[in-house]
Amino acid sequence: MLSPALISLALFLVAPIIFVIIYSFWLRTAEGLDVPAFQFGNWIAVATDYYYWLGLYSTFQMSLITTIACAVIGYPTAYFLARIRFGNKALLLFLLFLPFWVSYIIRTMAWISVLGKTGAVNTVLIWLGLIDEPLKMLYNDFSVVMGLVYFLVPYMIINVYVSLDGIDRNLEASARTLGCSPWQTFREVTLPLSLPGLGAGCMLCFVLAAGSYVTPRLLGGPDTLFFPDLIYEAMISQLDWPTGSVLSVILLLSLGLLVAVYNRFMSVSDIYRSFAR
């Protein structure tokens, strides 16, 4: 029963990834052919190139800002959704995920019309008389983070919501009876119990942000450096597969390390659980 799926995954997922690792040691000959070899030339070339380090740093920095923004925006929203007793909660959750279903490219493209020179925000601000000149908000790192936060915040909300929803309400009630203020109750009881959800949400946001290619490409400016874009450039534009495979392995390893560290303290399966909802 299991074997067809496992064989497909072994063949089209595991083997290809192992092959990328192997390929990163292959030798590119003077004629531009890649021949099987075991040498570190590609790795040394990438490691000694300051540009790639800068790319990795800038990617992780923007992903970190994105993750923090998602947590700050997502946690209160999830808390509200988990705690309201009135209204149709299922409807509210459904509404939250409606934009989530809309095509990723459309949601990313929308920000061009929102932040652009003649975009919605500038038009409204000028009309209100708050500014005279349109603000420069598009095609820089700001718009990239904006686009990333926009598409990642639902992931955060659902992860935090699932863990808040699972907390036994009697625990909070007991804390209150024992003399805790609402804020103390939140800080001492609710927040610690919801940390697995927050952790899973942060993990997911960071990994998805650092792996995104289209958002930085569409919303970023000429100075925006994003690692997946470097991989695409090497692989598809320059057809430099040895370099492309080294860069892929670097991205995979650094994110994999992060997941491993996270998994040491919390379980990755928390993330999958929220997907199943």
Binding site: S113, S181, Y213, M235
Partner: protein, 267 residues
């Protein structure tokens, strides 16, 4: 009393904040839909009257219709494969006990956490090794791998919630394993199978990053077509296409949810 008041105020503030988040999620989509009716040629503000001309242009654009055809064919093909593989895997994971279950679960969910760019690179390189180049076939295989975890998750969730009594009853009444599966298990999980299939369709139809690595130059799916069009400028036609996509992608889960609920209520 004052503490109760305090927490009620806090809940109100949280409510206001959440409304802000909802607006944040909906506003950009509304902007695209609004601009698609703009009569102006620039595709941006200000609105210069209402017009449907961009929709006319859209439906007359052969390359966009071709992209739709490619996307639909691809989505149906890979979802069919992912559903068959995924349903079998989910049943095995839930109904049978074996040692390496955790490892298998992790393997199946792997495509969710590996950056799509890396998956793109990996499959591209590996398939070239066995003589398969960037093509529709590569897209079909790749999208199947990407959609598989979602099918497994949906069907698995349903199977876990299903009591095994029904199957045991069928077995003890003399049905063999195949009959039990066909007559009992399959009808009970069919809403989840349909749900998983629709999920897979949505994943494939929406995919762009990996698709850019696997598609043959010249072949476009709807997302890559939009991506290519955006490189020149944001034309009002793209906003019209965006609006069509928004309506389609919102309708699909709505219909899916309705059908699934309808099915499960009938039993």
């Amino acid at each position: 009393m004052s503490a109760a008041l305090e927490s009620r105020t806090a809940l109100w503030l949280l409510g206001l904040f959440s409304i802000g988040v909802y607006i944040f999620q909906f506003a950009p989509i509304a902007v695209v839909m609004l601009l698609s009716f703009n009569a102006s040629r620039s595709g941006a503000f200000p609105m210069e009257g209402v017009s449907l001309q961009w929709y006319d242009k859209l439906f007359a654009n052969d390359s966009i219709l071709e992209a739709f055809q490619t996307s639909i064919l691809l989505a149906l093909g890979c979802s069919l494969m992912a559903t068959i593989l995924g349903v079998m895997a989910a049943i095995a994971l839930v109904r049978y006990q074996f040692k390496s279950k955790n490892a298998v679960s992790t393997l199946i969910s792997m495509p969710l956490l590996i950056p799509e760019v890396v998956l793109g690179v990996a499959l591209l390189m590996f398939l070239k090794l066995i003589g398969v180049y960037r093509s529709f076939g590569m897209l079909l295989l790749g999208h199947t791998v990407l959609a598989l975890p979602f099918v497994v998750l949906v069907v698995q969730a349903r199977l876990v919630g299903l009591r095994q009594n029904f199957e045991e009853a069928a077995l003890s009444l003399g049905a063999n394993r195949l009959q039990t599966f066909r007559e009992v298990t399959l009808p009970l999980i069919s809403p989840a199978i349909l749900g998983g299939f629709l999920f897979a369709v949505a994943i494939s139809f929406d995919n762009i990053t990996a698709t850019l690595f696997w598609k043959k130059p010249g072949i476009e799916t709807v997302p890559t077509k939009i991506f290519a069009m955006l490189r020149t400028s944001i034309s009002p036609e793209i906003n019209a296409l965006g609006t069509v996509m928004i309506i389609l992608t919102i309708l699909l889960p709505l219909i899916g949810g309705y059908v699934v609920r309808r099915f499960s209520r009938g039993r």
